[in-house]
Symmetry: C2
Subunit: 245 residues, 2 copies
DNA sequence: TTAATATGTCTATTGATATAGACAACTATA
DNA sequence: TATAGTTGTCTATATCAATAGACATATTAA
């Protein structure tokens, strides 16, 4: 697994970025937990079959992200190692899902808009196309680090004021309670992966080429009526999903 | 949508590759279904804010992948549009999951090895570390296109000969039946995303920088005894997972 | 047939990427 | 206190990536 030669040339992806991605992933997988350090630059250069300067570019990028810190004479220390597990069940909730994996979770309301439902949103929420829906753009953090960004739609009539309620409680679950919905369940989740767009890169503090896990989810009330459709984007190197059957 | 479709400079990912990735994704999302063509090069150049030659590099890469075909004077035609839906349930099976989304599915056995279980494999299969396990490397295709690559481990004692059985039936389910296991269920699935390594890039016919959806799954027999642990890698732009609760 | 609209090809220039080698500066330890 | 092992800095060179402009060539529709 501590692999040889995992980079390719002339592909439009610079070698230093391929190497940075691999090292970030290896750190996340605990490959260097014994020493708490990345292997020496010369060793990495040999492993990847590139010049030492190329490895240095990769490590510089990781240092910029705050993942490693180079100390002259000693080596390159691992500063931060992040991978949260996020269970997807019938009772999926963001904050409860993180559980004791982080000390502090936070939900920021980035934007709130009332708009007409697109065909896709209308289908998921079982509304007529063009029906009024409230769209929330939210950013969720764990221990001050952004974990995911979500776009959520709610039927406007039933959940008027959900933006304000979310801002107050920083939680969809609590906002629902305030609006009279005591409980809800996850009906469907679709998972894909994609490259992040510029806005998501910035909000999630990622570097271009970074991968997102994308979860399209639909929640219903206990009568099976859709109450929320959301598209959540998670930084793939910070999160994994678990589906228990 | 058009103006927001931006690319970033000096990130180690060439502009032409970022653009190729975005266009491939847009095609997969059906963005150009009305015309069956990609917008003209000059329009794309304007949208992405780059030179026309840069767009041409991106389209050349997509043509190389067989996704588009440029016709002088007419435009750039979309040749292939691929996105399979793959449900993850208690009864998840690859071939049945694809269902009628493809006319023909195939399973290739790339490699078969008997080895000692690593700590991770032993934990999932509830074996002692070092116990004998059979590892299969398989490649699954739908309509002659590679869809996923999987590494699977089985308890060696119980499932001796599973490699041969898989080669014959091209299906894990049928191989299990031949070895006396009539039915099994999916116990756990963990989903992450990652960059493909060189071997997976080649087998899945992907270009570097491509994204994989990675599903780590454990199947048990009806008594709850683990029978298979597998790590499947799917080309992210060819599949999505659906989790029904 | 013509004009408008596409893609295809060529030259030229600039900045980013990658390699190569040499040596300085710092840390841990034998 | 040497010494081995590590990161930091510098110079130089070659190739890739991106821009720019001009014009050729093919298709479609007026």
């Amino acid at each position: 697994m501590a692999g040889l030669n995992q980079v390719q040339r002339q592909t439009g992806v610079a070698l230093w970025r391929q190497i940075a991605d691999r090292i970030r992933e290896a750190i996340g997988n605990g490959a260097y937990d014994e020493t708490g350090m990345v292997p020496p630059e010369t060793v990495l250069a040999l492993q990847f079959g590139v010049n030492r300067h190329t490895v240095r570019s990769a490590l510089a990028a990781l240092a910029q992200e705050g993942i490693v810190r180079a100390v002259q004479g000693r080596g390159t220390l691992i500063e931060r190692k992040e991978r949260l597990n996020f269970p997807i069940t019938r009772r999926t909730r963001f904050t409860a899902g993180i559980g004791d994996q982080a000390r502090e979770t936070r939900g920021l309301l980035l934007d709130e808009v009332t708009e007409e439902a697109s065909a896709e949103v209308a289908r998921w929420l079982r509304l007529k196309p063009g029906a009024k829906v409230i769209r929330l753009e939210t950013l969720r953090e764990a221990d001050k680090r952004p974990v995911s960004k979500a776009t959520s739609w709610f039927p406007a009539e039933r959940f008027a004021g959900i933006g304000e309620a979310y801002r107050k409680h920083q939680s969809i679950t609590k906002a629902f309670v305030e609006l009279g919905l005591a409980d809800y369940v996850r009906a469907t989740t679709e998972v894909t992966a994609a490259h992040a767009d510029t806005a998501d890169l910035a909000d999630l503090e990622l570097t271009p080429g970074a991968i997102l896990l994308v979860a399209k989810a639909m929640n219903t009330d206990l009568d099976g009526m859709p109450v929320q459709y959301s598209i959540s984007r998670f930084a793939a190197d910070r999160v994994q999903f678990t589906i228990e059957n």
